[in-house]
């Protein structure tokens, strides 16, 4: 029987190239100041799942948390080739990764047999911990972090390539297991996960995305959050015309002084 792969899909703040104030007086995030996006590493996790599906056949189920804010990440999973999607109820604003993990694990359990649970490794700006580890603890499954490729996949075990500081380690683990996917697929050309499929997009436009009601107690909050603005570092940037030899020379002289 082909594997069932669950993939966590998070909608996270797009914190690239932020301009202007993003905190209000009280230290809250100013609504409207930020946009969201599909967590890029969760997108890598989805890509990994879909590649397994392409190569070996698998059922891929995307699991999300809470109602969509700006981007319907679960629908985007369906557009790219996930077979189904479910939403866990939960409060995204309560920024405790452990609490998120409990809700998501409940949704994963509701899917019946799941062989692999994939999730991005990165800890988004708003999260405090590595979601994969907390999921593994909730489910009682083994987990491997920083996975960026699958070496071998059998009925009951997987060998994952884990990126570490100075290279790679190949880790074998029995299934079911949680794999935290890192900066996966970086060697691909180009380094971008697959886009939507047009026909699927038509078909899945109105697909039902069931909500899994929470059945167990919410995890107690382990921490409180406070945010404060960081004054911008003032860097004065001088543009140097590469065609202008004198300017290049002046730049080198100034930069190398004291170096």
């Amino acid at each position: 029987m082909p594997h069932t792969i669950a993939v966590i899909a998070r909608e996270v703040w797009d914190t690239r190239d932020l301009t202007g104030q993003i905190l209000d007086e009280a230290g809250g995030l100013r609504p409207g100041a930020l946009q969201t996006r599909f967590d890029p590493e969760d997108l890598n996790a989805l890509e990994l799942a879909l590649r397994i599906k392409d190569a070996h056949g698998a059922r891929v189920v995307a699991v999300g948390l809470g109602a969509p804010r700006q981007v319907e990440v679960l629908r985007e999973c369906l557009y790219r080739g996930a077979d189904a999607a479910v939403t866990a109820t939960g409060d995204l604003a309560a920024a405790d990764t452990a609490a998120h993990a409990r809700r998501l694990a409940g949704a994963v359990r509701s899917l019946g047999r799941v062989d692999l649970l994939l999730v991005g490794t990165a800890v988004p700006d708003d999260d405090n911990s590595l979601l994969a580890r907390h999921l593994a603890a909730e489910l009682g499954w083994p987990a491997v972090s920083w996975v960026d490729a699958i070496e071998e996949l059998a009925v009951d075990r997987v060998v994952a390539r884990r990126a570490v500081e100075m290279g790679y380690e190949y880790v074998e683990t029995p299934l079911p297991a949680v794999l935290a996917v890192g900066v996966a697929l970086l060697e691909d050309d180009p380094r971008a996960p697959r886009p939507a499929k047009a026909m699927l997009k038509l078909k899945m436009k109105k697909a039902e995305i069931p909500t899994v009601p929470a059945t167990d107690e919410p995890a107690p909050l382990t921490l409180r959050v406070r945010r404060e603005a960081v004054p911008p570092r003032a860097i004065e940037t001088a543009t140097v015309d590469p065609e202008n030899e004198a300017a290049l020379r002046a730049m080198l002289d100034a930069a190398l002084k004291g170096a």
């Binding site: 985007e76 557009y79 050309d189 180009p190 971008a192 697959r194 886009p195 939507a196 499929k197 047009a198 026909m199 699927l200 997009k201 038509l202 436009k205 543009t239 015309d241 065609e243 202008n244």
Partner: protein, 568 residues
């Protein structure tokens, strides 16, 4: 992340605020039928927009564009009878297939998306901005598949369309021959008959009914593809000569059609241009005998001209973006060159021209959609009316967009100075790629010849009359509209004068006459757009400030034209 749909504000404006989707969809969809995926036009439009964003805009910016340099550098090769694509092109094709975009206009019944031509036009523009040569796979597919869908037998449709929808099959269109380029009525595709002499091109076996084709086709884009539409002589030239003796055939790739060579060319290196040799190659007749040129090629051309126009515009958009970025960053005399008055004017003119050309292209595309919709519905009167408009407007739009795109690339390279001449800068490739657009699918001269008699006959008078009769509540726009109307009077007087002239005089002055027409048409459209988006007020104003003098100049050139050769 970059996205070639959402980043192109003008295109998004046209698609989301200008195109009359309800009108197109009223003819092209049956809302409420089980086959129709949408409950109404709003939902359909939302899907089109979404689809242009992802996958089209996404794939173009993030997967195809980064490979363009490699595709261009390596190009297609010919080895032992086989055409070999650069890896990067194979990856592009796989991405397009995976994104399920190859059957954009093919009916849903055959696995396609059945999107209107106008969505396809936008998609072609977006893909071409990333890599113009890839458009010859992506953008050729539609016209070929639509021709099959519209005119071929059910058996052929079922055999080829589903596989074209998935992209398993790509198409080619084989019209040109060594002696038949602009003059397609000269097509021969000669075959050797039993005696070894030259005979009639396409032959039908009297017992099986199977046709075979023999002869040579030249300059065939993607001639190594799987489904080739061939224009060939099927009738005895003694009885039915010229265009009336030509029929349209479908050939599936097989050992009896060989690629003999591929061309080494200035641009679009990622698109193989093949010489094809048919050796008693089995072929299937499409539609009725003798209608190959007059009906099917003509029909195919409507969509194909839009596609090339969109390709040109995509290249122009890329060139414009390169120029704007370069001029911001390059400094001379202590400041960015974009602040130099002449450079600033060039940049403004490039943008203005791109937006004017886009206005004309998408207005034309809308008409082609209405025409197709009416035809599929079997609405005789509408088909005739829209058909007349489409046949006059598509050559004009193709001419205008491709010439504008050439102009824009020329200026963009100029803005780059010496760097623009270097291979390190994308404009060098864009400048080479754009050059084909006003040549293939009919040169600019041929488009003009096609359009002129239709203007003289007044085929577009109603359309222009309606635009002229519009009223603008806004004082600035009303004043600009008055200025356009003055030029419109000039146009009418030129056409009246031309009615007295013979054909060769009309063709000779064609370029000026078409320029007069299309610039007035673009001005009318830009004024309408200015009602919807403030940015367009400045564009329309700049365009119309120059309209009067240009129209006057072109009129004077027409009035003083003389046919002569100055060869010493």
């Amino acid at each position: 992340m970059a996205n070639y749909y959402t980043d192109n504000k003008d295109l998004a404006f046209i698609v989301e605020r200008v195109v009359d989707w309800p009108a197109i969809l009223a003819l092209k969809e049956d809302f409420g039928s089980p086959d129709c995926p949408w409950s109404g036009p709003d939902e359909a439009k939302a899907t089109f927009v979404e689809m242009l964003r992802d996958p089209v805009g996404e794939i173009a910016a993030n997967r195809i564009a980064p490979r363009a340099e490699e595709v261009d550098d390596i190009g297609c090769r010919f080895d032992a009878g086989r055409v070999i694509f650069p890896d990067a092109l194979e990856r592009n094709l796989k991405d397009l297939r995976d994104a399920q975009l190859m059957g954009m206009t093919i009916p849903r019944r055959y696995g396609g998306l059945q999107f209107p031509e106008t969505v396809y036009t936008a998609a072609i523009e977006i893909i071409s901005q990333a890599d113009a040569s890839l458009m010859n796979f992506f953008g050729l597919q539609g016209g070929i598949a639509e021709t099959i869908a519209q005119f071929a037998s059910e058996e052929l449709k079922e055999r080829y369309l589903p596989r074209m929808s998935t992209g398993e099959f790509t198409g080619a269109m084989a019209l040109t021959e060594p002696d038949a380029g602009s003059d397609l009525a000269a097509v021969q595709t000669r075959a050797k008959d039993a005696s070894g002499g030259e005979g009639i091109a396409a032959r039908q076996d009297p017992t099986t009914g199977q046709w075979t084709i023999s002869g040579t086709k030249r300059f065939i884009t993607n001639g190594c593809g799987d489904v080739i539409l061939v224009l060939a002589r099927s009738e005895d030239p003694e009885k039915k000569g010229g265009g009336r003796g030509l029929s349209f055939f479908l050939v599936e790739k097989n050992p009896r059609v060989r690629v003999r060579r591929i061309e080494h060319k200035l641009g679009i290196h990622g698109s193989p241009t093949c010489e094809l040799y048919f050796d008693e190659c089995p072929a299937w007749l499409i539609g009725a005998r003798g209608m190959g040129l007059a009906r099917y090629t003509a029909w195919l051309m409507l969509a194909a001209r839009l596609a090339i126009g969109a390709q040109a515009l995509g290249i122009a958009q890329a060139a414009l973006a390169e120029a704007e970025a370069y001029a911001r960053q390059r400094e001379q005399f202590g400041r960015p060159i974009r602040e130099m008055p002449q450079v600033a004017a060039m940049l403004a003119d490039m943008r203005m021209l791109a937006e004017a050309a886009r206005a004309v292209l998408y207005a034309t595309s809308e008409i082609v959609d209405l025409h197709q919709g009416a035809e599929v519905r079997g609405l005789k009167e509408e088909t005739r009316r829209y058909g007349r408009l489409a046949e006059a407007l598509t050559p004009i739009a193709k001419y205008y967009t491709t010439e504008a795109a050439n102009r824009i690339c020329y200026d963009s390279l100029q803005v780059h100075g010496g760097n623009g001449f270097m291979q390190e800068y994308p404009i060098e490739r864009l400048y080479r790629d754009v050059r084909i657009t006003n040549i293939y699918e009919g040169t600019s001269q041929i488009q003009i010849n096609w359009a002129i008699p239709r203007l003289v006959r007044g085929d577009l008078d109603d359309l222009m009359g309606a635009l002229a009769a519009r009223e603008y509540a806004d004082a600035d726009l009303a004043r600009l509209h008055q200025e356009v109307l003055r030029s419109y009077e000039v146009y009418k007087s030129v056409i009246a004068w031309l009615r007295e002239k013979d054909n060769s005089f009309r063709e000779m002055t064609g370029p000026q006459v078409i320029d007069i027409f299309v610039e007035i048409y673009a001005a009318f459209l830009l004024l309408r757009h200015a009602e919807l988006w403030d940015h367009k007020r400045a564009v329309a104003a700049r365009f119309i400030r120059r309209l009067g003098p240009r129209v006057a100049m072109n009129r004077d050139l027409v009035l003083n034209a003389r046919l002569e050769t100055l060869e010493a």
